[in-house]
């Protein structure tokens, strides 16, 4: 092992502690329970609901879970690259959990296939796929509106099943390449006998600099395909930014939760300091603010414009009982984390911060529910109880739990501390009263 100069403060064990196995088992059990629940709910909904949309609801719930897990995996990749660019000690702390998140990408790609097959190929989710060829006759039959017909027709060069597959898979391939490089270099860096700070930093910066830009661009296209095009008439230029902030909004809390959970035992115990936790808390606060800023800015612009092309999207999500969901979305997404994170003390106390982090992750899924469900004709401006809607708990719950299982497995495979970093010395050097 290199870096003798600061390895003196390093704990002897750098691998993950045993508690991760416990977490993994719990997640697996919860995932199984949720899966069984999802299937039962679908069957019940098919029997009892009017109209019977049990399996469709399962698919919608699946989409919600998939988009959430996608954000946790590749949002983690984006945050990892940002951390390489910005530097800072918090980056060193969260690096390994983030890398573990990125390595879950095969699971995420697997989750994508049902969406692509059933949602797009069989047109169960996307009406542009369903009425791709016969939009004109669908319009005549009154299955779609004039606006939808126009949009489906106009957007055919982009919104077709082939492009859906090609674009998604190409993006996955690019991301996979990035994940591989980031992880491989990270291991190599730790194995480097010399610090070679400038060399490694340059290498990571070169990869990440362009990577962040590329990710931002590709993410926008992907969320258009997966979520935005559920309503083919809808468009909003800030959509990509909202996801770009929404993903770290869930990723960073998860990383903090992981670290807090691990901080009771070595090796994280000796590197995890309240200063970095405070910094990450501030970063969470910044994300909370950015999130509401984008969301409110878009709402204000569309509310003020009040044009028939745009405002229905919000009306679908506010009227008919959806206002409750929207208000709760604001409360979970902004009010609770904002008011709690204002406090300096809260950011420095593990238990309280982990509560806020859990709320933030929950808010992420809640928001996806609000974004996705009102796209469908039976739910727009009409929030009502059906057995099927409970799939939004069961399906994402199952997917998230299975994702966690894989994430914990990945976390275990690498040492939890990146050793070759100049910041490590500062973190370990307790001599400093203040950093």
């Amino acid at each position: 092992m290199a870096n003798e100069s600061f390895s003196k403060g390093l704990p002897a064990v750098q691998g993950a502690p045993a508690c991760i196995d416990v977490w993994r088992r719990r997640a697996l059990r919860a995932g199984l329970v949720f899966s069984i629940l999802a299937v039962i709910l679908a069957l019940v909904a098919e029997k009892l609901d009017q109209p019977a949309l049990g399996w469709e609801h399962l698919l919608r719930g699946w989409l919600t879970g998939f988009v959430g897990c996608f954000g946790l995996c590749f949002g983690g990749m984006a945050l990892l690259m940002v951390q390489h660019l910005s530097g800072g000690k918090w980056g060193l702390i969260v690096r390994r959990p983030l890398e573990a998140m990125t390595r879950t990408w095969p699971v995420v790609v697997l989750m994508w296939f049902p969406v692509a097959l059933l949602g797009a190929s069989y047109g169960k989710l996307y009406i542009w796929a369903k009425y791709y060829d016969d939009w004109a006759s669908a319009l005549k039959k009154g299955l779609i509106t004039m606006d939808q017909a126009h949009a489906i027709h106009w957007k055919q060069p982009m919104l077709n099943v082939t492009d859906f597959y090609v674009v998604s898979l190409v993006c996955f391939a690019i991301f996979a390449l990035y994940v591989t490089l980031l992880n491989r270099w990270s291991v190599k860096r730790d194995a480097d006998p010399e610090p070679n700070v400038a060399y490694w930093r340059t290498k990571f910066e070169n990869l990440s600099g362009f990577g962040v830009v590329l990710y931002a661009a590709l993410l926008f296209i992907l969320v258009i395909y997966w979520v935005m095009s559920l309503d083919p008439t809808w468009y909003s230029t800030i959509y990509g930014f909202q996801y770009l902030v929404g993903q770290p909004f869930m990723v960073l809390p998860l990383a903090i939760l992981t670290l807090i959970g691990l901080s009771k035992t070595e090796p994280i115990k000796s590197t995890y300091r309240v200063i970095e936790q405070h910094d990450m808390g501030k970063l969470c606060f910044a994300l909370v603010m950015l999130n509401i800023y984008f969301a409110f800015g878009a709402f204000l612009i569309i509310w003020s414009g009040n044009s028939p092309e745009e405002i229905p999207w919000y009306l679908d999500r506010i009227r008919g009982g959806w206002g409750v969901i929207a208000t709760l979305d604001v409360i979970f997404h902004w009010l609770i984390p904002f008011s709690l994170l204002l406090s300096r003390d809260l950011k420095r106390i593990n238990m309280r911060l982990s509560v806020v982090c859990s709320v933030m992750i929950f808010a992420g899924f809640w928001d996806l529910f609000w974004l996705i469900e009102p796209n469908f004709k039976d739910a727009a401006r009409n929030l009502h109880f059906s057995w099927g809607i409970l799939e939004y708990i069961a399906a994402p719950g199952a997917l998230f739990c299975f994702w966690l299982v894989y994430y914990f497995a990945q976390l275990k495979r690498r040492p939890l501390i990146a050793t070759n970093d100049p910041h490590l010395a500062e973190i370990l050097e307790h001599d400093y009263a203040h950093a």
Binding site: K155, A198, Y199, F294, G297
Partner: protein
């Protein structure tokens, strides 16, 4: 494995990280203090300063003439008319406000993120903010038609029983810009109080002692005061950060709340903010590079600062590019013919030249900043800063003018050609900005001395203190 780092002999480069230092090695509390305060306290005003001051003063004269004529004749002397009712005035308003943003960003956001390199440049970046806000705020007021009635915009019990209409983004502007101006001044002044104390104590003249003393309000460096001062600075920074985001967002709402094609788009707030920071950093560099050279401040404003500013410019420039691409993409994806035509008109319409200038200056050329070498080249940076400033001017021009010339209704289409008064006012504000800046660098400390002291290695309190030396040692 052998070391991959090329050995460096430059003392400005940190041998461990291979990065340029934020402050040159070998400085003491006294030397940094003197380095900064000598510029202000010297009785000898450099000839170059006088020259620049005179030139700027002359341009202010032009501004005075333009504004006086505007007061006498009305806004008709500008080229604003239907359909382009928001001509240069609003272009420049947005441009100047945007420039101001870098100042707040540097002092506030970087303070929150504990970026030490901000300390050398934050003071004059803040001054830049204030002067830019002054220049910016002039335009909407002059644009009112009857500028002397500008106070009507505020809610006060007037004889008209009339109150502002709070659903208008123009009203939001009033509060955003006035708050921004006020908080910027307060932040700037509060940050300067300890330095004013230093100047008071170091000044050799009675007049200097009196005035700096007055401004320093009796600052004596008590640690109790310092604790409150630090809290207050952090809080102000914490407040200025969302403020700076909101101000340009509100300005973007002036456009995006309207239903004009090319204006009504949800990405405007963040994209305007990014553009603002982009142009602001360009202006910081435009100012910092000559000042650094002229006053020999290479020790305090190092290549690290320039490199970091360049990185920020690259990042914000990419966000702006993202915004442009989104607009182009959405012009198609929206399936709206008006949006589609708007984009076509921007690119290939009669004012297409402005769009391509903007793309060249704002997107194409700044890609050179990917190069590490160029980012550390002072001359290139200066040139790039000027290019970006130009590009951002054209961005506002494209947004304001090309959208307005082509409305929904072909019968209301028109064109725009600025008059000499438009140009005069614009160059006049450049003069005013420079003029105020010259006054600032002559009479106030442009680099925060107390924060420089804090950055020095000897400023750190060691826990395991050395034993007390014997008396007389």
């Amino acid at each position: 494995m052998a070391t991959k780092d090329a050995p460096v002999n430059n003392p400005m480069v940190d041998p461990v990280t291979g990065e340029y230092r934020v402050i040159a090695p070998g400085h003491s509390f006294k030397s940094v203090t003197e380095e900064v305060s000598r510029i202000v306290l010297t009785s000898h005003t450099p000839l170059g300063w006088w020259f620049g001051f005179m030139v700027a003063g002359t341009v202010v004269g032009i501004l005075t003439i333009c504004v006086t004529w505007l007061f006498l004749k009305g806004v008709g002397i500008w080229a604003v008319t239907i359909p382009v009712a928001w001509g240069f005035a609003i272009v420049e308003f947005v441009w100047w406000i945007g420039i101001g943003h870098a100042g707040t960003l540097i002092s506030a956001i970087l303070l929150l993120f504990k970026q030490g390199w901000r300390n050398s440049i934050n003071r004059f970046a803040e001054a830049m903010t204030i002067f830019a806000v002054i220049c910016a705020a002039m335009f909407p007021v002059l644009h009112l038609g009857r500028p002397w009635l500008g106070y009507w915009l505020f809610p006060y019990p007037n004889t008209m029983n009339y109150w502002p209409q709070f659903r208008s983004p123009l009203m939001w502007d009033v509060f955003a810009v006035s708050t921004y101006g006020t908080i910027s001044v307060v932040f700037w002044y509060i940050g300067m109080i300890p330095d004013l104390g230093t100047l008071r104590d170091r000044s050799q003249t009675k007049v200097g002692q009196f005035f700096y003393g007055l401004l320093a309000v009796g600052w004596r460096g008590s640690v109790r005061h310092w604790v409150r001062y630090e809290t207050s600075s952090l809080l102000l920074a914490g407040l200025a950060t969302p403020l700076v985001l909101s101000v340009h967002s509100v300005i973007s709402l002036d456009f995006s709340v309207a239903l004009m094609p090319g204006w009504h788009t949800t990405i405007f707030p963040p994209y305007f903010v990014a553009g603002a920071i982009y142009s602001g950093f360009a202006m910081v560099l435009t100012l910092a590079i000559p000042i650094r050279k002229f006053y020999h401040l290479e020790d305090l404003i190092t290549i690290r600062h320039i490199d970091n500013c360049n990185k920020v410019m690259l990042a914000t420039g990419l966000i702006v590019a993202y915004g442009y691409s989104t607009e182009v993409f959405m012009a198609w994806y929206s399936a709206s013919h008006w949006e589609y035509f708007m984009m076509w008109n921007r690119m290939f319409g009669p004012m297409g030249w402005s769009y391509w200038t903007l793309i060249t200056c704002n997107i194409a050329l700044p890609q050179l900043l990917w190069s590490r070498k160029l980012r550390k080249n002072v001359g290139f940076t200066f040139l790039m800063a000027l290019i970006i400033n130009t590009g951002m001017y054209f961005e506002r021009f494209v947004i304001v003018v090309t959208s307005l010339t082509r409305d929904y209704l072909p019968s209301s289409w028109g064109t725009y050609r600025a008059t000499k008064w438009d140009y005069g006012t614009f160059f006049g504000t450049l003069g005013l900005f420079t003029f105020l800046f010259f006054l600032f660098i002559r009479f106030l400390p442009m680099i925060p001395m107390s924060e420089l002291r804090m950055m020095l290695p000897q400023a750190r309190v060691r826990e395991k203190a050395e034993p007390i030396p014997e008396a007389g040692d």
